[in-house]
Subunit: 452 residues, 4 copies
């Protein structure tokens, strides 16, 4: 007698689809079989059962410059759950006077109070952290074996620091996850544009040309090859980067990359929208011309890119508007934590870019395996009962009102998807059912990850 049985659904994993019941006992999948019975039974006939989606790249209540990203660990993880996402990886940054473990504890304490789903944390290695690289083993042991490296912004590492960081990550068996842009070139182009009076968001992507993404990605791949460490490239939006990742993979190097819905579904004409509407989509790397969308879909299908994240980092229109006179001051980031999984189903699977199994792979299974969630991302006995009952026929037109994100706007406003979560479970508990969120803040746990 199981606590909960999901009956009659079509189980969709990264590799196979088949019909069976899922028996949940406590927090985990206890059995997959036929004719299972439980204290509660949910009929999933006609539905897909997928692993809970995992978004390994989100920024909740994250301070950036003068602002803090608008979703906190409660609103952010609640929105995630509505969309079928049951685990995230957020970030820790360490203050100069702080140890990495202290920074980690502080960030965990913040998240533990509010998160509604399980979460992991990437440890950021900024320039001030180069002196702390001997702390990496402790951080990895504490369950944070992935390390965020910026090649842009104030937190960027110069190449010598980058080398040291990669060497240190290699020593602890960790995974570097990298924001790859050539900041020196970008800031120079920004200054050139601003000096010419080119101040509107139109000039945002023109200050960050594709080549600055490609060059930086190529550089960190080169360095990672030299050091002998894997590397994951964050938020790939153009072929210039894909080509370098594909090249490296063809040579057998452990290089991976991700893209995001903003690069798959939107083009750079958004920066020409009037007023604050043109400022809202400012994010980095920027959104590219339309042909790059097709490039990114193809890269996912051909396994030149391995997963999809959101880089969820929302700011309100008022915050965005502060940079209307100078695009370089617009706080960068777009929301997306909620709709990723259904967007990928409609525009990826239904549109024929890839199969339902590849959908689960890029949104659930590969994120879990790559980032070291040992018991998530898959439907098998012993795995956490993080599950989505996905109604392939449910139609939703996306808008700020249908979403539960707090930014008040969405890039996907007006897009209609066919296929949406009907129910989301986390460790055996039903989080979302019939459009209602059923649980309290703080139930989410920090997950100590191990990278294999």
């Amino acid at each position: 007698m199981f606590d909960l049985v999901i009956k009659n659904g079509k189980i969709v994993t990264a590799e196979h689809s088949y019909h069976a019941d899922i028996g949940i006992f406590g927090e985990q999948i206890a059995a997959i079989g036929t004719g299972l019975s439980g204290r509660r039974e949910v009929d999933a006939a006609g539905k897909l059962i997928t692993p809970g989606a995992i978004d390994i790249h989100v920024h909740l209540e994250m301070p950036i410059g003068n602002f803090v990203s608008t979703d906190d660990f409660f609103t952010g993880t609640r929105a995630a759950a509505f969309g079928g996402t049951t685990a995230i990886v957020d970030f820790v940054e360490t203050q100069p006077a702080e140890t990495m473990l202290d920074a980690l504890a502080a960030r965990q304490s913040l998240a533990d109070a509010r998160a509604t789903i399980d979460y992991g944390l990437h440890m950021t290695i900024g320039p001030a952290d180069i002196a702390k690289l001997n702390q990496l083993a402790a951080v990895a042991d504490a369950g944070c074996p992935s390390f965020k490296i910026y090649m842009a912004y104030g937190l960027r590492l110069h190449d010598g620091e980058l080398l040291q960081a990669l060497q240190a990550i290699r020593r602890v068996g960790g995974l570097p996850v990298v924001h790859a842009e050539n900041w020196d070139v970008i800031t120079t182009l920004m200054q050139q544009h601003l000096a010419r009076g080119n101040t509107t968001p139109h000039w945002h992507p023109r200050s960050r040309p594709e080549l600055t993404e490609g060059e930086a990605a190529g550089r960190v791949i080169d360095l990672a090859e030299f050091v002998g460490v894997p590397v994951h490239i964050f938020h790939v939006g153009c072929q210039s980067v894909v080509a370098r990742i594909a090249d490296a993979r063809r040579r057998g190097l452990p290089v991976t990359g991700e893209t995001c819905p903003q690069y798959l579904l939107v083009d750079d004409s958004v920066y020409d929208r009037p007023g604050v509407a043109g400022a809202l989509p400012v994010c980095a790397p920027p959104i590219r011309p339309r042909p790059e969308q097709e490039n990114m879909w193809r890269a996912l299908a051909d396994d030149h890119l391995q997963l999809v994240t959101t880089d969820h980092c929302p700011f309100t229109p008022a915050e965005k508007a502060t940079g209307l006179d100078d695009f370089s001051k617009i706080p960068g980031g777009v929301p997306g934590i909620e709709a990723r999984f259904p967007l990928l189903y409609t525009f990826g699977v239904r549109a024929g870019h890839f199969s339902e199994n590849r959908w689960v792979d890029v949104a659930c299974t590969t994120p879990a395996r790559m980032l070291g969630f040992a018991r998530k991302g898959h439907i098998a006995v012993g795995y956490d009962a993080d599950l989505v009952i996905f109604d392939p026929e449910k139609t939703v037109t996306i808008s700020p009102e249908t979403l539960h994100e707090s930014a008040g706007w969405t890039l996907y406003d007006g897009m209609t998807v066919r296929g949406y979560p009907a129910m989301t479970l986390s460790r055996g508990e039903i989080l979302v059912e019939d459009g209602a969120f059923l649980r309290q803040p703080g139930r989410g746990n920090f997950v100590a990850r191990r990278i294999q």
Copy 2:
């Protein structure tokens, strides 16, 4: 209450490894869970549970020239079962006056009487079959959606015929599986060598240089791209072919390739062994110089090649010896149906070339998916209970005596493997246990395959 429960094993699939019990009811996996109980229970503690291995490229009791390959559907499938292989795909050839369906029925009838494990059949398209291409839909409907094309030997298709065959296969949604060698060049080189008195097996690989494999593979890939059909390259033994497959895959083409143990574990010095010993390893494409072994292992690890088969096609030493005066008359083919799965474990997984999951992938799961075995190659509810209880510590030194193949010799003679099947199950029945084969000829079924 299940008919049979395999308890306490470590389930190894193409993507994950985890511990659970497997409950079998009738012929299928009915449940995966913990604490399952059944009428019979097998304790698999310390063992790996894998899907039954699948060998999609074997030739049993196949007439080739004056000889017939020595293993029939009984001895061949029994040997397969000892090694953990629970499904094979063999071949049908159609006589000129025959329809393809008649040829299929005849071959099925032969196999049904003797096979001990399930099997599928590739339909061969020879030159005389070009006039019968309108029969392909019926053949595919009958469960044979994969079509063997020779670019070498008497059955080879010229390029125009090859084009027509690919077009016809495309119309029925089938998969061409291709022996790619440039026969015209090879026969010319053979004649040149023989004319110079170069008649020993030493000259066999020198008559079939790597380029003749690479060129032919590139040619059929080009034609398949033009037609818009996937293509699978058989028995890849050298980088010249791998490079073309990898190129095509990078461009997103549905091209796949396989290699075989003879290309992974043996080098071309075998052709210099004295007397008949040098003739035994004659197969086509030939076994290559040692560096190609590393190339093939790497190609499997990097997914430039997707699966491993055996091209099992045994002849006795006496038969091989008939060509000692003229290498071109040696009947071509080597045995291997039995040891493939454990050889890959020891020399692939233990040697660090790839993980235990990739092992299952290349030997079980991808073969099943690519060739359209809907209910095999994976461990999940509803799948056939084709399973191997694999003892990772069992040590076996391979020799004709430890094997159950009928050729009386093996390329792998003297190699010691650590890891071997302890028990093999087919559709819920125990075939092999404690070194004993427990079932009768003819229990194996033809499997109607569908390619997706």
Copy 3:
């Protein structure tokens, strides 16, 4: 005191441009200097002085099926001279009962009687010539070290024959020049189109898709690499071939390629012209869609292709019309021997695709060096005084009337070029001056070539 001095011109070679006088004594350039004086002096102020252009791929009075190409060695070489071409290479084919040397002598005798400019001959190796490969040394010694190989048409070699031909050419230090198309695939596509009633010239390029060019070029490059012999690819019209040539060159292989004006200046819409107009442009490989023009220009600029020829092979509209009901019966070939050099100047140099030096390189110097004209293709002391005084401002609108070809039509009808020969010299003799042809048939000599 020189026989003739060309004064004050700008000498343009493949590498440099500079001003100097050219002193001619007898048939050769005797001096390059300033203030030279001669019995006759030609003022070339404002003009370019180039080497005489060389067209290594023409078919004069060549029997093809039921027809003979319309220009004979007189009208063809006269037209060539009007356009600044002072040497050609035509072809010899050997009858089954004939020796190659006899065939060569017969062709020379025909040409010697009529040619007005110097010429060389490629020896064709057809299937019946495989038995005569031991004659190649004598042919090369006789000054024909380049060997034409067809991969299409009745004269095509199968791959084994191709291998033997390449081996034999290697033994004599010769150069294979290859018509690369996959004839088996092409004839199959032709039959398919004709069977569907697709009989108009529109279906000509659709029966010879780019891939059939690329595949065949790749195949002969592979075989040439295996044999260790250079190879020159004739009449390249699409990127599918360029990519293979560029790949081979990048790997350091001695592979070269040429394109022709019909691939640089015309697109495949010509096959949709009504009536016989659509049949006139039928040639093989066919003319491609417009983007390939840019590809070919770029390939010349980037040295992925090394020279430009015409494949001049004219037929009259009446002859072309015989295939109006069946495109496969249209005699293939287009005229072009006259206008190549000025067309390349206007549409190559003036349009900015390459420099005047590259123009001379692809039309004069590289053809001479590659094909072994020891004393042609360059302006230096001791070289034949084959020269063009090219007026860069002379404007000509091309039409059958302004040309001296005999086909009665031209693909370039209506194109206006700026830049045209004002005078053409061959071995010190003025052939063309003020639009008049001044010499008699038969003055042209056979040139014994040596390939280095």
Copy 4:
């Protein structure tokens, strides 16, 4: 009646070899012909006549740290002349308070007093020069259209500065010439090695791994592509760089590269020589393992690299010895200005790596054309009579004694070359004859170059 006639020699240009006399009038080649006569006649029977060699990368009396390179413009150019080099390009660096034109004038004044052969100057753009980029047009107009950029050392530009420099060079139609190494990574590796007590020259190449060359070259190629400017990569010593140059060229980008004798003829075992002997060869990029030699020769033959320079920058053993306790303090640079041209003949032409024409191309003609010497690098009327009468049979064993460089040591000590200049002429004057230097310091002129 010419001032000087070189009779009966074999003229070797980048493209052709032929026999003729050369008539010199004043400083230039006035005629090439047969039977020329002059006030002085030199019999060159059995000799090769080549253009004077050009070395576009030398550092004479250049201050580096605490030292000044030991050859001044007199000893350096004299040594050059002995080896057949008749033009060099050296460097100018601008002091912070100085204008570029002032710096140029000062450097010219230094050189004018001492140079014995003609010379040009590259203008260096250091970080302090970014504020002076509007002076580039004047510098280019003054005849210095090539601009040195360091990606290493104190003079290195950060990427944003590099971008600005490339943009400014593009505006003036100039050519960036780049020292490409990743300095940040190199200094980090240096510190790591030194911190471990790895202080000997053995650790010099290990602090500058191939990847740091390749990455930096790739980066500047990327940026140059973005800006739309050509780029020349200095002193290429490993395949990691060649691959990036070849890739770029294949895509049609105007990217070029050079190598130097130290990378062609020596391997990194020299750093393991005892005492100061191991310090002498310290230069950057470092000398690589032996297989890279073959890579560099092949790159020259295949035109992946276009020219050969020396990067002549000599220091005495005493100066080199100052860094014996810390390899990072060894003044970097090796001598080579004298022997380049004969070394390339013996080890390039005689050894079969390329033809005598390619030898002239990489050492004379391409350097002149690329760097904008309008009247040098070629043998034709109107060009400067900078000529070498090269005796292909003269045998010299290289040693500090046979050379005229001032460093007192040479990397090529003990190598025997067959082929050496018998006479060197500069603008019609005989500089070196019978082993004697015949002219005075200061006869060399600054050459105002224009890049086309």
